[in-house]
C-alpha cells in the first residue's frame, strides 16, 4: 500500500465522516435535548436530497437548488413536528419508535409516489466538477473537498452556536439536565421546535450535499440512519463534540478498513485467507468498534448526561 | 470505646472534579445509636450516605462494617451484610402493590430467586412477614394498594418497611420527613422512635425538632468536612456550629 493511496483514502474517510456528522449532529441534538428517539431522521435526509434534485432540475442551477431546498426541508421538518412528533415528547421511547417507524414507511412510499421508484441524479455543479492535483498523479474531486469544507463549516457554526449563544446554552443545559431547563421558565415547546427544525434542516442539508455524488432513491436514508445512530452512540448522546469525533472515526475506520484491512491481515495469515477474512470482517468493523467502545464506556466517549 | 463500632468511616474522601464533597471524614457509629447528620444544603450529607450504602465509590478512605472492610463491596453485598437504606427521593416500585414491594425484599434474603415456577405473589411466608412489617409502619390497611398510588407520607413509610425487610443491622435514612405535613411528620417520628429501639440508625434530616428529639448523637457537616460530632445538646451549644450553620436559624 502506497502512501499516496493512504492519503487519498484518509481524505475519503474524512469526507464520509463529515457526511455522517451532518446527519448525526441533528440526531444527537434531538436525542439528547428532547430525549426523543427519532427514527425518521433518515427520511429527512432523503427528503433533502429529493428537494435538491427537484429544485436543481427546475432552476437548472445547483446553488439555487440548495437555497430553495434548505428552507423547504426546514418547513417539512416543522410540519412533521407539529403533526406528529410534538405529541410524543412526553411519551416513552417505544411509542416514539412506533410512530417514527410509521413516518418512515409513509415518507419512503410517498417519495416513490411523487418522484417514482427510479433513482434520480443531480449533476455536479459545473464550477465544482473538476479535480485538484493533490500530489503528482493523485487527483481529488473538487466537489468532495467542498463537502469536507461545508461539513467543517457547519461543525464550527454548531460549536459556536452551542457554546456561545443563548439557545445553545439552553440546548447544552437540556442535554445534561432537561428538568432544569423547564425549571428556568424557558418555553420548552418553542425550544424543542427550534431544535427539531434545525436538526431536520441539518439532515436535509446533508441530503442536498450528497445528491450530486449519490443516487437519490427511496429508502436512501434507512441505512444512513443506522450509521448515524452508531455515531451518536459512540460519541455520547447529546454531545456535538462526541458526534463530530465519532463520525470521523467511523468514516475513517470504514473507509480505511475496506481498503486496507485485508492487507493488514496478510501480515498474520496466508494471502488467500487474509483477503477472504478481510472481506468478511470489513463491513463488521464499525459495529465491532461500537461494541468495543460501549464495552469500555457504556455511555459513549463524551457522555453529556451524568 | 473498647468494642468495635458497628460502622466506622476512616478518612473517607470524595471529589467531583475540583469540588471536595467528602473531606477526610472519620466517624464511629456504635451499635444501637441513632446518629443524625446535619448540615446545610450541599454539605455532602447525601453523598456520604451514598458511599456508606455503596451507591457510589469513595476516592479515598475506608468503610468498616462490623470491623470488616466493605469499601469495595457493591451495594447489594452490603445489603446482605446488613446495611439498608432509604433515599432522599422516594425509591419504591410504583407498579407493585405495597405488599409486593416488601415481599420482594423479604424474598431477597430468603432462598434463591432463580426459581422460574410457582407464583411468588402467593408465597405465604413472604407475604406474612411483609404484612407484619407494613403494620409496623402503619400501612396495615393499605397493603393491596399500588405503591405508586400511595400518598407521599405513605410512600416514605413503605420505603422504610422495604428497608426493614432486608433485616438490616444498620438503617440509613435520608430525610424521611422531607416534604411531609405536620400530621404525617408526627406519625413518622413515632415510627422512628419505635425503630430506634431495635436498630442502629444513621439519619439525615433537616427538621431540627425531630433531630433533637430523636438523636443520640449529632454530626454537623460543612463543605464535606465534619465540624462537630457530639450529643445533641453539646452540638446545639457549640459556637462553631452556631456560627457556621445554626447561626442563621438562631438569628
Amino acid at each position: 500500500m502506497s502512501t499516496t493511496l493512504l492519503v487519498v483514502q484518509t481524505l475519503n474517510g474524512l469526507q464520509f465522516g463529515i457526511l455522517l456528522f451532518l446527519i448525526a449532529a441533528g440526531l444527537t441534538l434531538v436525542f439528547g435535548v428532547m430525549d426523543f428517539v427519532n427514527l425518521a431522521h433518515g427520511v429527512q435526509y432523503m427528503i433533502g436530497a429529493y428537494l435538491a434534485a427537484t429544485f436543481t432540475a427546475l432552476t437548472g442551477n445547483f446553488l439555487w437548488g440548495l437555497l430553495l431546498a434548505l428552507p423547504t426541508a426546514l418547513v417539512v421538518g416543522i410540519i412533521l413536528e407539529v403533526l406528529v412528533f410534538r405529541h410524543l415528547y412526553e411519551r416513552d421511547h417505544l411509542s416514539q419508535v412506533l410512530a417514527t417507524f410509521g413516518v418512515i414507511l409513509f415518507l419512503n412510499e410517498a417519495v416513490k409516489l411523487i418522484w417514482g421508484a427510479a433513482p434520480l441524479g443531480v449533476p455536479v455543479p459545473e464550477m465544482l466538477s473538476g479535480n485538484v492535483v493533490l500530489m503528482d498523479g493523485v487527483l481529488y474531486p473538487v466537489y468532495r473537498l467542498v463537502i469536507i469544507g461545508a461539513g467543517l463549516a457547519v461543525a464550527l457554526l454548531l460549536y459556536f452556536g452551542v457554546n456561545h449563544t443563548r439557545v445553545g446554552m439552553l440546548v447544552r443545559a437540556g442535554a445534561s439536565n432537561p428538568r432544569m431547563v423547564s425549571a428556568l421558565g424557558v418555553n420548552i415547546g418553542r425550544l424543542f421546535m427550534i431544535v427539531f427544525g434545525f436538526g431536520a434542516m441539518l439532515a436535509g442539508f446533508a441530503g442536498i450535499m450528497v445528491a450530486p455524488i449519490l443516487s437519490v432513491e427511496p429508502g436512501m436514508g434507512d441505512n444512513l440512519l443506522i450509521l448515524a445512530m452508531v455515531v451518536i452512540v459512540i460519541g455520547g448522546i447529546g454531545s456535538i463534540r462526541g458526534a463530530f469525533i465519532a463520525a470521523l472515526l467511523i468514516g475513517l475506520v470504514d473507509t480505511l478498513g475496506r481498503s486496507f484491512f485485508g492487507d493488514l491481515l496478510r501480515l498474520f495469515m496466508p494471502a488467500a485467507t487474509a483477503s477472504q477474512t478481510g472481506r468478511a470482517i470489513a463491513p463488521m468493523l464499525i459495529y465491532i468498534l461500537m461494541a468495543a467502545v460501549l464495552f469500555f464506556r457504556p455511555a459513549g466517549l463524551f457522555p453529556a448526561r451524568r | 470505646m473498647t468494642d468495635t463500632p458497628l460502622l466506622r468511616l476512616d478518612g473517607l474522601t470524595k471529589r467531583y472534579g475540583a469540588l471536595l464533597v467528602t473531606d477526610n471524614v472519620t466517624l464511629d457509629f456504635p451499635e444501637g445509636e441513632l446518629h443524625a447528620i446535619l448540615g446545610p444544603n450541599g454539605a455532602g450529607k447525601t453523598t456520604l450516605m451514598h458511599q456508606v450504602s455503596g451507591l457510589i465509590d469513595p476516592d479515598g478512605g475506608q468503610i468498616l462494617f462490623e470491623g470488616r472492610d466493605v469499601t469495595a463491596l457493591p451495594m447489594r453485598e452490603r445489603v446482605r451484610r446488613g446495611i439498608a437504606r432509604t433515599f432522599q427521593i422516594t425509591s419504591i416500585l410504583p407498579g407493585f402493590s405495597a405488599l409486593e414491594n416488601v415481599a420482594l425484599a423479604v424474598q431477597g434474603r430468603s432462598g434463591s430467586s432463580f426459581r422460574f415456577f410457582g407464583i411468588a405473589a402467593s408465597e405465604k411466608a413472604l407475604n406474612e412477614e411483609a404484612a407484619k412489617l407494613l403494620s409496623l409502619v402503619g400501612l396495615g390497611a393499605r397493603m393491596d394498594i399500588l405503591a405508586g398510588a400511595l400518598s407521599h407520607g405513605e410512600k416514605r413509610a413503605l420505603e422504610i418497611a422495604i428497608a426493614l425487610a432486608t433485616q438490616p443491622r444498620l438503617l440509613l435514612l435520608d430525610e424521611p420527613l422531607a416534604g411531609m405535613g405536620n400530621e404525617e411528620s408526627a406519625r413518622m417520628i413515632e415510627i422512628l422512635k419505635r425503630l430506634k429501639q431495635e436498630y442502629t440508625i444513621l439519619l439525615i434530616e433537616h427538621d431540627m425538632d425531630a433531630v433533637f428529639a430523636l438523636a443520640d448523637r449529632v454530626t454537623v457537616l460543612l463543605y464535606g468536612r465534619v465540624i462537630a460530632t457530639d450529643t445533641p445538646d453539646a452540638v446545639r451549644a457549640s459556637p462553631e456550629v452556631r456560627a457556621a450553620y445554626l447561626g442563621e436559624d438562631a438569628a
Binding site: 411509542s95 412506533l98 448522546i237 | 439498608a84 422460574f116 407464583i119
Partner: protein, 328 residues
Amino acid sequence: MNEAVIPSAALPKGPFGLRRNLLPAVLFLAFALAPLAVAFGADPFFQSILIRIMIFAIAAISLDLILGFGGMVSLGHAAFIGIGAYAVGILASHGIEEAHVQLPITLAVASLFALVTGAISLRTKGVYFIMITLAFAQMIMFFATSLSAYGGDDGLTIWTRSQVFGSDILGNRTIFYYVTFAVMLGCYLLCRAMVVSRFGRVLRGSKENPVRMEAIGFSPYRFQLAAYVIAGMMCSLAGFLLANQAEFVSPAYMSWQRSGELLIMVILGGLGSLHGAVIGAAALLLLEEGLAGFTEHWKIILGPLLVLVALFLRQGILGLLTGKKNND
C-alpha cells in the same frame, strides 16, 4: 421522563382471574380451531398465513419477555431467528436432518450467543442498549452473508424439512400447524409462569427501579441476563420453525428492519402482556397481507396507521380490546 417510561407490567392481584384469562383463552382457542375452518371449506392457504403469524408470535412473545417485563429494548432480536434458521439450514445441508439433533444444537448456539452478547450489552442502558444489540445482530448478519458455502447473501434452500425420528411428518401442513401452535402455546405458558415466579418478580422489579432492587440486595444484571438468554433461546425456536416453513434461510432474516418489525409487533399489540405480542404479530402480518392485496403502495396506509396507534392507543391494540382508558 425516566420514571414510569414504560407502562407498568405489574400484574393485578389474582393473576389467574377470569377477566385476565378470557382474552388469551379466546385467542389461543381461535388458533387451535382455525384448521377446522379449513376442513369446512375455508381457504387452505389461510392456514399457511396463520403458521407464519404464529412463528412471528413466538419471536414476539420472547421479545415481550425481555421488553415488557425486563425493560430491555433490543433492536437485534431477529439475530436469534437467524441463528435458529441457519442451524437448520447448515445442518440440513450436511445431511443432518433429525430434529432431535438440530434442536439441541439450535438452542445451544442461541444460548451461547445470547450469553456472550447479553453479558456485554447489559452493561449499557437505554438507547445505548438498543444500539449495541443492533450492532451484534448486524455482525452476525454480515457473518452469515460471508458464508459462501451456505449461499452467502443468496441464502440456502432447505431440501428436506427437519425429520422427526426418521419421518417427514413436518411436511404435513396440518401437523406442522399444530407443532407450531404447541410451541407458541408452550412459550406463552412458560413466559406467563416465569413472569409471576420469584424470578419474574425480580425481573419486573429491575425494570421498574434497578437502584431499589440493588438496595434490597438483588443484582438486576444477573436476572436480566438470564431473561435475555431465555428469550434468545425461545426466539431461536421461531427461527427453527421459520426455516422449516419457508424451506429457505437467508441473512435477510436477521436484518435490523426485521428486528424493528418484531419491536413494532410487541408495541402494536400491547406491551407486557404476552398475548398482546401474539395479537401484534397477527395484526401486523395481516395488515401487510391485506393492504398489499389492496394496493402496491400499502406502506402509505400502514405508516399513518402505526402513527395513530402510537398517538392514541397507549396500550396498543390490547388497550382497545380491553377498553382500558388511555390516561397515564
